[in-house]
């Protein structure tokens, strides 16, 4: 078993090293200098290998410290109950929730997929040795922080030390239960697809974790001791059962399916996104169109993707409407709320850049456009003629702007109305600027995503995202929008600047799209 573990560890290290080199090769400019032979460069391999091992070590501790610090230690300040008891209380109940959500063994990772499915490594030896390794990492990772934060909270030393072993025991018990269930039903499910029962259990655990201390109820050291002894006895029993279980291969065959494994890498596209996009097509063929040419083609795309286009926007609009109505009620019944709202509205327009960024559907819509439409159509040369590309571009632009406008109208109109009801403004032109700048932001994001998609078309024929420039632009869009949160500026100045910027940006980018898209809009090879 140790041999299998060493092999799997080396294997993991190799592709982690290769991924590091691969990411280096994705960077703009640098990728032109780096040759493919880089993968066999020894020095670089060693360097990437060291980074990979360092990462493994950091990984042992980093998640644990964040977990203990934020989920438990920081929460202590909310309660008036005994700090040490509350610390134990939070830890015990969170462990129950975490135990069922993350077993390690049933997590369909790529490592397991490569080793067990593709390379046919003995599933029991692989599964068990890696499982034990994870459990050791768990105890080692937790120990320093349960001692550190436990000490500050005044938890007795024996509890500080025994908490990680309690977590370990819970993990073993849950895993043994999963194996027991598999033996009886012959069905194993990926832990990344929790059932409603699991979610309800986790919900109840979370309620017990954070609500009970508010009511003054926590467990204490004596109760913990009883729970610990029970858990350790059951844990040891479970360990024996887990160790002697034979049918890991059969179990992993069910868990390590391609869609389970690749569901993990949401960012990079691949099959899971493709599958997911296909699900968005509405089977109903009753939606037809009377148009012709590009308009016909695009019209059918919109009608068959109502779920992610019009319906999503309608849902958004309802939420916005409810918030506005709640605000209006708030303003009319509470004077402090009224004056505060007025104050905020007058200087917080930049904040809405981020909100408009969040609600704009264009990023996911362009993704669906690629997965369900352009991915196949771009293989037809006729689809890449300037006339067709620009014809469809125009239709898409119209649609994206229109569907995003509905929530923008509500927000813009709502803000102007709220400003009026909350006491108004000295300068009546502010109402118009508020409204128009929100509309301008909405149009800006629609144009921005579509033009970037046409100019940088980031996917290849296997639906993988291949352009680091595109990812960079996406990241930058997020950072700039997020940065706006920090800015407080009067409506007039910021609003005018936004409107001018959005108009100029849209005009320039549309000009670029018309000029260059016929050349840039193709599949990456």
């Amino acid at each position: 078993m140790i041999e299998t573990f060493i092999t799997s560890f080396k294997l993991q290290n190799t592709y982690r090293t290769n991924s590091i080199i691969y990411s280096l090769k994705q960077l703009p400019l640098i990728k032109r200098i780096l040759p493919n032979s880089l993968y066999k460069n020894k020095g670089l391999k060693i360097f990437a290998g060291i980074i990979s091992i360092l990462w493994e070590i950091i990984n042992i501790f980093i998640g644990k410290v964040i977990y203990v610090a934020t989920m438990i230690f920081m929460a202590l300040s909310w309660y008036k109950t005994n700090q040490a008891d509350t610390f134990i209380h939070l830890f015990v109940f969170l462990t129950l929730a975490g135990g069922i959500l993350n077993t390690y063994m049933l997590n369909p990772t790529k490592d397991k997929y490569y080793a067990i499915i593709l390379m046919n490594i003995n599933a029991r030896e692989y599964g068990l040795s890696n499982y034990y390794y994870q459990l050791i990492k768990l105890v080692v990772g937790f120990l320093p922080f349960t001692i550190l934060f436990g000490m500050i909270a005044g938890v007795p030393l024996w509890i500080q030390i025994s908490i990680p072993f309690f977590v370990l025991a819970i993990k073993l018990i849950v895993m043994n239960y999963m194996i027991y269930k598999f033996k009886n039903t012959n069905k194993a499910t990926s832990e990344n697809l929790p059932t409603k029962i699991v979610w309800s259990f986790v919900g109840v655990c979370l309620l017990l974790t954070y609500v009970l201390p508010f009511l003054g109820i926590t467990i204490n050291s004596t109760i913990f001791l009883c729970v610990l002894i029970t858990a350790v006895i059951l844990g040891m029993y479970s360990l024996i059962k887990i160790h002697h279980f034979k049918e890991y291969r059969k179990m992993y065959k069910q868990i390590l399916t391609e869609s389970n494994v690749y569901m993990q890498e949401k960012a990079s596209g691949t099959q899971a996104i493709k599958d997911n996009s296909l699900k968005q097509i509405e089977l109903d063929t009753k939606y037809t169109s009377n148009k012709t040419g590009f308009a016909y083609f695009h019209d059918l795309f919109v009608k068959r993707h109502r779920k992610i286009l019009t319906e999503a926007v309608k849902k958004q609009s309802v939420v916005i409407l409810v918030i506005i109505i709640a605000m209006i009620i708030g303003i009319s019944v509470n004077d402090t709320f009224k004056s505060k709202t007025n104050e905020i509205l007058l200087v917080y327009l930049p904040y809405f850049v981020f909100i408009m960024y969040l609600i704009n559907r264009s990023s996911s819509v362009t993704q669906a456009m690629f997965m369900n439409c352009d991915h196949s159509m771009l293989t037809y040369r006729i689809y890449r003629t300037p006339k067709v590309i620009l014809g469809i571009f125009k239709e898409r632009l119209k649609t994206l702007i229109t569907i995003n406008l509905l929530p923008a109208f509500l927000i813009g109109g709502g803000l102007a109305l709220l400003l009026y009801l909350s006491g108004g403004t000295d300068n009546p032109i502010n109402y118009a600027i508020l409204f128009v700048s929100i509309i301008a932001m909405s149009i800006f994001f629609s144009v921005h995503y579509l033009v970037m998609y046409y100019l940088l078309q980031p996917y290849n024929i296997s639906t993988e995202m291949k352009s680091s420039t595109y990812k960079g632009v996406q990241g930058l869009t997020y950072i700039v929008s997020w940065y706006m949160i920090q800015i407080k500026m009067p409506i007039f100045g910021f609003g005018i600047a936004t409107i001018v910027f959005c108009i100029a940006y849209s005009l320039i980018s549309l000009f670029l799209a018309y000029k260059y898209a016929p050349k840039t809009f193709k599949l990456r090879i």
Binding site: R304, R381, I382
Partner: protein, 232 residues
């Protein structure tokens, strides 16, 4: 009409995949493009289809002695893995294709006539393409490429996903349309190449060369091709 390729080169980093391609493909013929795995057949097609930039050389259409650039409308490329827009029904897909190619289509037929021509059953015509089988998608891909009526048709292993009956029908169809097109057909199946193609061209070591049949019988011709492919 001819498709002329002159001194075409394509490297991937240091690897010279296409070294120096010189060839004239003529209208009215089906060319069988043979090559070993990794010889660069798909790269050659991708170059002609302008999916990737070429490193040197040129290719163009020669029509009545006049040279002109090969435009998007001139070329149809049928990939081995069929790609069709899955949110449309077969009928809608055809309608769209006919709409955007209106000017180029000679003797336009009704959509159902096209389906009949491709032998696509009545009950399948209004199904979403998402629910089509691999072979059926391939038929659709072939059909729209034929409707678009491009001068040059590149076919990358197109018959492998068809059952024997459909493969026979497709071969027959290609023979029918070849008089108006330059058809280049890449395949690994020697029998198919010998049966269907008028000329055999092999891509080996980055060079494209025609293998003359002369007076050889099929068996001798086959051996000659294999020898040529084996050459180091």
């Amino acid at each position: 009409m001819k498709l002329v390729v002159k001194n075409l080169k394509k490297n991937f980093e240091k690897k010279e995949v296409l070294k120096d391609i010189n060839f004239k493909f003529e209208k009215g013929k089906i060319y069988g493009l043979l090559g070993r795995n990794g010889a660069g057949k798909t790269t050659f097609f991708n170059c002609l289809n302008e999916d990737i930039e070429i490193d040197a050389g040129e290719f163009f259409i020669e029509d009545n002695g006049k040279q002109r650039k090969m435009e998007s409308e001139d070329i149809g490329y049928v990939l081995s893995t069929p790609n069709v827009p899955e949110f449309l029904t077969a009928r809608e897909f055809l309608k769209f294709f006919i709409d955007i190619n209106k000017k180029r289509i000679k003797n336009e037929k009704t959509i159902d006539e096209y389906f009949d021509f491709m032998k696509i059953e009545k009950e399948d015509r209004d199904k979403l393409l998402k629910d089509y089988s691999h072979g059926m998608k391939n038929k659709m891909q072939m059909l729209v490429n034929i409707i678009a009526n491009p001068n040059v048709l590149l076919l990358d292993e197109p018959l492998t996903s068809f059952d024997v009956v459909v493969a026979e029908e497709m071969k027959q169809m290609l023979r029918e349309i070849k008089k108006d097109h330059i058809i280049i057909f890449s395949t690994h199946i020697m029998e198919l190449a010998l049966d269907l193609c008028d000329e055999i061209v092999i891509l080996n070591k980055g060079i494209l060369e025609e293998i003359d049949k002369n007076n050889l019988n099929n068996e001798q011709f086959k051996n000659k091709i294999i020898e040529a492919l084996k050459e180091e």
